[in-house]
């Protein structure tokens, strides 16, 4: 028995040394927002082709950049996912470690719509009003620089020309990425419209985050589950309610719901894609050019990710909630990726 155990051990160890000669799989790190999209592409790529399935770690955008910029070579990741553009400090770190050619790929957008039933009121709001409608604590309405528990029950209490109806919002629970994006883009964006709150960020970051990113719990905001389809059904049943969900669901249900105009911009493919719609952000991944041709399958993986079947407007990533790039931008990006144009 001792001998068999030893034999198994030796064979496992030797099999390992045979493989250690070169990494034959793609290594990806980075944002947890991009993770669900990247894993779907990776799984398809691994199962349908002759290459191994890429390995994807969800380290967060910053953590991913740190690993990515640590150096060139098999020990370092080939791709990092990011839910924001790479910072100049990160680029400097990359350059300091000999990584000069990085290909930036924008895969699409994470757009969030604030919508209600088609027969409901037309809403034209700014980020500050969205913040005042969804936050637990809001700046004191009397103008003093303190926070009070959200007193607003009706939309017209926030701004007199808004509809005179109760604030009823159905949105995602805290476990959802959509909720994170809502807090980061809509609520923080609204918070920053108050000058003194914006200044608070520098002096007392904890208080700033506690007050700016805390969704109200008094019943005006209802957590409606991760199922965005369900939110749409509920909106149709209750024309006074508003819902928060991914843009792709709004786009597919335009016969039933309509998006609110935010900062005078309607949520549309074009406005999300050009960044004028405020509650959206582009999603990225970055590829180390030096690794292309060294790590087997890297080029093919890029081709799969940038294929119409994946990131196209009818592709499987759109099914998962990604807002695709506009057609011309997508074609341009795919061509740039194919040519490995560094940023």
């Amino acid at each position: 028995m001792k001998n068999t155990a030893l034999l198994i051990a030796i064979s496992a160890l030797t099999a390992g040394t045979a493989n250690a000669a070169g990494r034959d799989y793609i290594q990806i790190v980075g944002s947890s927002t991009v993770y669900p999209y990247a894993t779907v592409v990776a799984e398809r790529f691994g199962k349908s082709g002759s290459f191994k399935t890429p390995k994807i770690e969800s380290t967060g955008t910053g953590g991913g950049a740190k690993l990515f910029c640590a150096g060139v070579g098999e020990g370092h990741p080939d791709i990092t996912n990011a839910s924001r553009a790479m910072k100049s400090s990160e680029k400097e770190m990359c350059a300091a470690n000999g990584i000069n050619d990085i290909v930036e790929v924008v895969i699409g957008y994470d757009g969030i719509s604030f919508a209600n039933a088609i027969e409901g009121a037309n809403l034209n709001v700014g980020l500050s009003e969205l913040y005042l409608a969804t936050a637990k604590h809001v700046p004191n309405p009397d103008g003093s620089e303190t926070f009070v528990t959200n007193p607003y029950k009706n939309w017209n209490e926030i701004r007199s020309d808004l509809p005179a109806q109760a604030i009823e919002i159905m949105g995602p629970p805290p476990s959802s990425g959509t909720r994170d994006a809502w807090e980061e883009l809509a609520m923080i964006g609204g918070c920053n419209t108050f000058e003194w709150v914006k200044a608070l960020k520098k002096s007392d970051k904890d208080a700033y985050e506690e007050n700016c990113m805390h969704v109200r719990e008094d019943g005006a905001y209802v957590e409606a589950g991760e199922n965005d389809n369900l939110i749409i059904q509920k909106l149709v049943a209750n024309p006074n309610a508003f819902g928060i969900f991914g843009f792709s669901f709004l786009d597919q249900n335009l016969d039933a719901v309509k998006g609110a105009t935010v900062e005078s911009v309607q949520p549309e493919f074009e406005t999300i894609a050009d960044g004028s719609y405020p509650i959206s952000r582009p999603l990225f991944f970055y590829v180390k050019k030096d690794h292309v041709g060294v790590i087997p399958g890297l080029e093919e993986f890029l081709a799969e990710f940038t294929s119409e079947n994946a990131w196209g407007s009818d592709g499987y990533l759109a099914d998962r909630g990604l807002v695709p790039l506009p057609d011309d931008k997508r074609a341009q990006m795919a061509a740039d990726v194919k040519a490995l144009k560094p940023m």
């Binding site: 496992a12 290594q27 509920k234 499987y316």
Partner: protein, 425 residues
């Protein structure tokens, strides 16, 4: 005087009886609470895991003619692998019912697992004689259809509360009545790696990752731990230095496991440039973590061997090494093995150090060696528990059951070894 004492004793007697009864009641209560916690945990986990041990399959008649798959008459192995099976499976699913239109096609496609065509391809590659004509094949149903088959989603629920439309439910009912959909034992769960689709996700990759990791751990920590214990107990002089070593070993046993992960990141990955996410690194890090446990248990076992045994061996002329290896070690072996196995069980359930060395990742391929990227069982549980799809909550419980099974087996082995070899003096 005498009478006085008895009096006092008698007076206090009832009180002492009461105190004793109360103490027993507290003890029973404590046991009752821990048992009920355990019972709640186990019943909820096991109850929740039951659906994951079955999977639903749908019978499709797939046209496997070379024309349909875009293959030449006598395809090579590579051609065979790259045939257009995805379209063939899609066409076969449309043929299940009399439908037309994009929306209906999409609805029917949603009943079949998006990974179904891989199994068709693998079947054809394994047996090319299937080619040439339509074949009836059983393929995996989608997560949503599977939940309906298991009665978790029912037709009584309002349409808005389930992810299946009334039309899809009606289709599924038709399939059930014509026996073209059925439940079977969940082979996929035990034969495949991780996946983003609940129905194709399996535990095998994580299980093998855990086994490889433990293999490295035991190969390192058992010999090193036992040798250290023997030297410290039998040979080392008792002085300040050995005292310091002893205190440090005891302290190490209490160090949080994430610290070992950071150490592994700094030393093995950054300095020695060992591969990220590989079981070999995981094994080394976990053996650092279990070494103190193994050393402490082994020392206790060696200490428990009576000195008379050593004296007798030395007395009839055995050298110190002979005494140790012929007499002391065999007698201490049950204790050493128990300690080692418990250390391994601890390592099996550990995730924190693995996070630092990149073993918490989406890894779909089943690892073939200790340097391939791999996840581990507890990591898989964590990743699945985090996934939004409904089917993963059952998979999570099933993975916990698999992990618990291994832990129970290991602990049972420890108990059995102790029972079998233990000697009392």
């Amino acid at each position: 005087m005498n009478k006085h004492t008895t009096e006092i004793v008698k007076q206090g007697l009832q009180k002492r009886y009461n105190a004793e009864r109360r103490f027993r009641a507290y003890g029973m209560f404590a046991i009752l609470i821990s048992v009920s916690f355990l019972a709640v945990l186990l019943t909820s986990v096991i109850g929740n895991s039951v659906p994951a041990f079955q999977e639903s399959v749908i019978e499709l008649e797939v046209d496997l003619s070379q024309d349909n798959l875009g293959l030449s008459a006598n395809p090579t192995a590579e051609e065979l692998f790259n045939g257009s099976y995805e379209n063939a499976v899609k066409a076969a699913s449309y043929a299940l019912f009399d439908i037309s239109g994009r929306k209906e096609k999409r609805a029917i496609r949603d009943l079949i697992s998006s990974g179904a065509w891989y199994s068709v391809r693998d079947a054809v590659v394994a047996d090319p004689s299937l080619l040439g004509k339509p074949q009836k094949l059983w393929v995996l149903a989608s997560d949503n259809a599977d939940l309906y088959m298991k009665g978790i989603v029912t037709s009584d629920m309002p349409e808005t509360a389930r992810r299946l439309s009334d039309q899809q439910v009606q289709w599924l009912d038709e399939l059930i009545s014509s026996n073209r959909i059925q439940k079977q034992f969940a082979y996929t769960f035990f034969t495949s790696g991780d996946s983003r689709e609940p129905e194709t996700a399996g535990i095998l990759a994580a299980l093998k990752g855990s086994l490889y990791t433990l293999l490295v751990t035991i190969l390192l920590s058992a010999p090193i731990g036992v040798m250290a214990a023997i030297y410290l107990e039998e040979f080392a002089p008792k002085n300040r230095l050995t005292d310091i070593i002893e205190v440090n070993i005891n302290n190490l046993a209490a160090v949080p496991s994430i610290v070992f992960g950071l150490l592994g990141l700094a030393v093995f990955l950054n300095f020695f440039e060992m591969p990220r996410s590989a079981p070999v690194v995981g094994g080394v890090v976990l053996s650092l973590m279990t070494l103190p446990t193994v050393i402490i248990a082994s020392r206790a076992a060696i200490k428990a061997v009576p000195p008379s045994i050593r004296d007798a061996a030395l007395g009839i002329g055995a050298s110190q090494i002979q005494t140790t290896f012929h007499h002391v070690l065999p007698l201490a072996m049950p204790g050493i093995l128990t300690g080692t196995i418990i250390g391994m069980a601890q390592a099996l359930g550990e995730t924190a150090p693995l996070l630092m060395i990149g073993m918490v990742a989406f890894i779909a391929d089943v690892p073939q060696s200790i340097t391939d990227p791999a996840a581990a069982l507890p990591v898989q549980i964590y990743l699945w528990a985090d996934s939004p799809e409904r089917g993963f909550s059952y998979k999570t419980s099933a993975a916990i059951v698999v992990l618990l099974t291994f832990l129970i087996l290991m602990n049972a082995a420890a108990v059995m070894l102790r029972k079998k070899f233990e000697r009392r003096w």
